[in-house]
Symmetry: C2
Subunit: 728 residues, 2 copies
């Protein structure tokens, strides 16, 4: 006989959770709108819910309304019929786009929604736009909107389609389950973004990310009002777009894993429908090995080349001295400029080590002939040539910090991985810039850390208004060394939503605790948009355990986080098994979320207990229950860990978590008794904690600092605040 | 501050679970193969895993092999490259199909699989078929295969493609996580099905089920070796296929929710690729209201008609007396015969109440003129005419019990919803038949109950060999009154896998406990095929609770099951709110699985404790923990239930579960003390249990009988075995 039970602990936990559940918040919208006035009561959402579109015509808004209805229907489980009506110029009319879109959504999702003509003025939600947005979204378009929800109806007005789409996302987040049924709280919102460039970069080169995965993440981006998807489309490890001009790029440079031009066109339209620009990046002159597999003549070395299977800075670089290189790029950029309609074209430009240039006598001769003193000068020559090619296509060049050298065209936009200082310096010189330093998701930092990164802080804080306006915003960056279609969502979400709020909401929106409350809500809602950041974690635990009974494994998974990218690579190299792009990514380090809600909750609780001078019995009881579960989990988990090669490495991690649980309990015992812990125990416990804080199996036990705080308190040491993601 | 913790209970539970985990079973294949010899050791599955195809060429097998590789890669998380090779006639060759399929799987899933030529004889798994299967799968094709797995390699041989596809599914199920990595255990399997017709009927009329949902369920069917998908395509509530001959069928009869012909062709090919036949059903002459919305002249009444929004037996029926009816059907069946290539065509034929016929003077005159004594005779005339139309298309007619009357063509196949007796009677008369009685999934019965239903039992047991061979197999039936794309998977799976085993495995395969062990394993694996029977339950709980913190709600959900379809309809009618096809299906009754593993485990434990004369301390401790969790859950859950209109109705159910937990604990206390429970308590407890056994909120508390058993034991009553899904 087999019994495995999961259940919620002791009533006190549930009562607290219930009392402070997200529903109690007046408004759980993320990013937090610029201005919110909460009214009383709410607007019921039932089977009669309908949307009326008024004002200017834009097929994108029609489709957006149909999608919005389908999303409400999916999230509430309420079939919505006769839900989208279009009345423009006083005349009831049903656009073919609405009909088509509604029918498509209805048939594909099985949601019973229907487009129909309903009498003017009876719709639950009326959407009015003054004008259509640009066919392809452009930097700086008005994205503001006003949303007014009363108990009887809702009105959404915007200058153009983009604002209306944002407003619909806000409304969707407002819908919640109440004792009287689904409803949106009465509220008046006036909202607009702080920065016009709110981006997410996804590296699809180091690991290919299929189009469906990209699309569901575009939906997630739209949900948090991000408006730029920057695709890092080529690197040493893969060339990911079909070129018809130079087909060997994808044929020899991608292992067959690339986006076709039809897929790109579809994606561009899909993103534009959601108010999102697609900025393509083709990294050059370095990070270009995959180009050289098919076209070795582009490179500065002798070749031949094959797709890189490891990562780092490689020697291979384009030859900036041959006119053929620019002829190639002229044709290639021409082709890609057609395919990607956005006004910005990203040429990369980062991390050229110059070794091939140094070793090539012809290049050295060219440099001497042109009076180039160093490789930076040669790269500047290259950048300048490429920028002119891009400009001839009436596009603007974006590049990483390295492309900014004196004399570059003021048209270029700098994406800074180096920090606010280099961004401020660029702004002073008249260049526009984007911040990505501090937003690297592979650093596996908690949401609060990214949230605290401010594009206009540091050196940028002292810029003049004009200079400051050159800081367009920023981009979260998802480098794909350890990303797969299976785990990318959990590396992107929900943390990227915190960055999205930083880019959208007023600078004063700083309270991390409030952010975490909204984040929990939006994170849950993202799964309704088919994002798999939560479900995939559980599925991957199941794979490791060989069963879906993963409760014990999850206790461990929820107490750890993956080490950052660099640490993981160094550890692998030190162990003599360097990471490669073909190795399985199916360990706990690949599955565990970068930030655990359970661990955050524990850390908050310990901080709160310390703040209460360890005199809160109810809180202590909760903390004891959590510590007990960790202490006892090890015995449950070890036999499971022994059964699977994927789990063997976790034995010491589980043991360490068990020891932390035991030490925390012991510390509380001493605190309760009011006696100082004995020195021998103190030495042992602190030694154990020091050990537990070191990464094992590429995992950090993130609850260790909070346990350390308990132990320190029990030995009378001044308790430093445990490393919490936010203040309690 | 908020803390919510989920964890696995006390170490004894985990240890037991670990000791009896699925991995410990030598072979977890479902359906259980006809012959299995387990060897020692296992075949490692790693990044070098490859498949070699030998023997006859069949593009379907090529695609099947690519799909198989992609599935292994997805389930293990191991990138597989150079994995499919084709060597036929001694020559290494890579079929275009394999290349295309592998590339498609690779690009869509992001799985790094690649087709490549590898030297002959080094593949991990060699697949040999003597001949290709028929282009469209046919009834009675050889489906057997032999699978031999040794620690060094595996060989799969089959007469044709169908057997090989089954063998690949078997192999996939053999792959498991071991301490040495992923591996398939050494095993020799000789396998073939018991019945040639192993079907699943899905009603897509009462609620439309989109093509993607159908497809993922086709994958699930293939995983458990079912070979017929019977689509109930028309009924009073919807006509679900595009007809180009009679477009008003779908235009006016479907709310826009229908399969296009392109989708059907794609589905037929998709299913054929998996060895699955698609049998279309167009129900006539009754259950046809949706036809009449566009073509009222087909009916026997005056019309007009609109799509039915409720369920039951309607009066509307085709007019069997007009030649125009047959002209219509001649064209319509001609069109559908082309679209659905299967040799069988299902004409329904059930539940004609004859009221329209009685009320139509012309029909009455026709009956008198032809000497038809009753409506059955008139229906026979209709059936006979339709059967001849179908036969002219060189197809065979299938129908429900009602079509079988003396004198019908021996070609027809009877699908029996009435039972084995009517099936046996048909077989004696020379008709072939299928059993569906006892396999109605809407009865919400446990897997063991379906498992015990034997097509050749009862009256069928005494049939001669020839007669018995006319019983072709059976079909599980999924009627869609309360199905949506969201919950259909959980109504189909895993229970249908038990029925699949009944149809495939030898008649002697009867042990329900073994079945449940295999079922747990296959159920988990089905989620890797994108079936959502487990994940959707959790998502729906989240919708009800307005958060993904659903632990307390799940404790309740895991202790209940939905009432059967008829009870639910009667309850709704009695409450004055008859169920309709447009009402939301978002309550716990729509989400809770028909059978809960947790509840089964508890019932087994109580049975085992009774068998041990209530003298197993460890077992009792486990039971107490479960009872405690139910008792305490109510206090946790009530505030959550109060927050949501979707949850209000569950307050008494949660309270009842709490009372059951408390009563069970009290009973154990009495048993432990060896004293008989007092009469007053007995009366109260049994009264409470009687109440708790009645459905509330359309839910049965399935753990009530096991608690009743504890209470009865504590008062010295003879303990009848609790209603367990299987003997402990």
């Amino acid at each position: 006989m087999r019994i495995a039970l999961i259940f919620l602990l002791a009533s006190i936990f549930g009562a607290k959770a219930a009392a402070q559940s997200p529903q109690q918040e007046p408004i759980n919208v993320m990013p937090m709108p610029a201005n919110v006035q909460v009214g009383s009561g709410g607007l019921a959402i039932d089977g009669a819910f309908s949307v009326e579109l008024e004002g200017a015509k834009d097929a994108r808004l029609d489709r957006g309304a149909a999608r919005f209805i389908a999303n409400i229907s999916r999230e509430t489980g309420i079939p919505l019929s006769a839900a989208v009506a279009v009345h423009r110029g006083g005349e009831a009319r049903l656009s073919r786009d609405v009909q088509k879109m509604v029918k498509k959504e209805s048939r594909e999702t099985g949601t019973a929604i229907r487009a129909d003509i309903v009498p003017v003025g009876i719709a639950t939600l009326t959407v009015y736009i003054q004008q259509a947005a640009k066919p392809v979204p452009e930097l700086g378009e008005d994205e503001g909107y006003t949303l007014d929800v009363t108990p009887s109806r809702a009105t959404l007005t915007a200058t153009n389609t983009l604002g209306a789409l944002h407003g619909l996302e806000t409304f969707l987040q407002l819908v919640q389950s109440t004792p009287a049924g689904f409803a949106a709280p009465a509220v008046h919102i006036e909202d607009k973004p702080r920065f016009p460039w709110r981006g997410l970069m996804i590296d699809v080169s180091r690991h290919f990310i299929p189009i469906d995965v990209i699309k569901r993440n575009v939906d997630a981006m739209a949900a948090v009002k991000l408006n730029v998807l920057h695709l890092h489309l080529s690197d040493d490890q893969g060339f990911r777009v079909e070129s018809k001009e130079f087909p060997k790029l994808q044929e020899m440079g991608s292992d067959g894993n690339y986006f076709t031009q039809a897929e790109i066109r579809d994606l561009v339209e899909y993103a534009a429908d959601r108010g999102i620009r697609i900025v393509p990046e083709f990294d050059m002159p370095g990070h270009a090995t995959s180009w050289f597999t098919g076209y070795p003549e582009l490179s500065s070395g002798p070749g031949p080349y094959s797709i890189a299977r490891t990562w780092g800075v490689f020697d291979a670089a384009m030859d900036p001295t041959r006119e053929e290189t620019y002829k190639f790029l002229e044709r290639f950029i021409g082709e890609m400029s057609e395919l990607f309609p956005d006004r910005f074209f990203h040429m990369g430009g980062d991390e050229v080590n110059g070794k091939q240039w140094d070793a090539n006598p012809k290049i050295q001769a060219f440099m001497r002939a042109h009076g180039f003193k160093n490789n930076e000068a040669l790269q500047q020559y290259f950048t300048d040539r490429v920028q002119k090619i891009v400009a001839r296509r009436r596009k603007l060049t974006v590049g990483w910090d390295e492309i900014l050298v004196p004399g570059m065209s003021k048209d270029i936009v700098i994406q800074s991985w180096r920090g606010q200082a280099s961004l401020a310096e660029a702004a002073k010189q008249g260049y526009r810039g984007l911040l990505s330093s501090g937003y690297y998701l592979d650093s596996m930092a908690p949401a609060a850390q990214y949230y605290a990164v401010e594009p206009t802080s540091g050196d940028a804080a002292s810029l003049s208004g004009d200079e400051k306006s050159r800081i367009l915003g920023g981009e979260a960056c998802a480098w794909a060394e350890f990303l797969t279609p299976e785990n990318i969502d959990s590396r992107l979400w929900p943390r990227t939503a915190a960055i999205a709020e930083r880019f959208w909401s007023p600078a004063e929106t700083q309270d991390a605790e409030g952010m975490y409350r909204r984040l929990a809500s939006v994170s849950w809602r993202l799964e309704w948009l088919r994002v798999t950041h939560k479900s995939s974690y559980v599925a991957m635990l199941g794979r490791m355990a060989g069963t879906d009974d993963v409760a014990a494994l999850r206790v461990l998974g929820d107490a750890v986080r993956p080490v950052d990218l660099g640490t993981r690579q160094r550890t692998a190299r030190a162990a003599g098994v360097p990471a490669t792009s073909t190795m399985p990514l199916n360990r706990l380090v690949d599955a565990a979320p970068p930030e655990s809600e359970a661990a955050n909750d524990f850390t908050r609780a310990v901080n709160a207990l310390a703040a209460a001078n360890f005199k809160d019995a109810a809180l202590e009881a909760q903390i004891r229950l959590q510590l007990t579960s960790w202490r006892d989990n090890d015995a449950l988990l070890q036999p499971i860990l022994a059964r699977s090669a994927l789990l063997n490495e976790l034995a010491p991690v589980s043991q360490a978590l068990g020891s932390l649980g035991a030490a925390g309990l012991q510390a509380l015992d001493y605190l309760d008794k009011g006696e100082k812990a004995p020195d021998a125990w103190k030495t042992e416990a602190l030694g154990m904690i020091d050990q537990a804080k070191k990464p094992q199996a590429d995992l950090f036990i993130v609850v260790a600092p909070a346990v350390e705080m308990l132990v320190n308190a029990s030995i009378g040491a001044a308790p430093p605040a445990a490393q919490a993601p936010a203040k309690p």
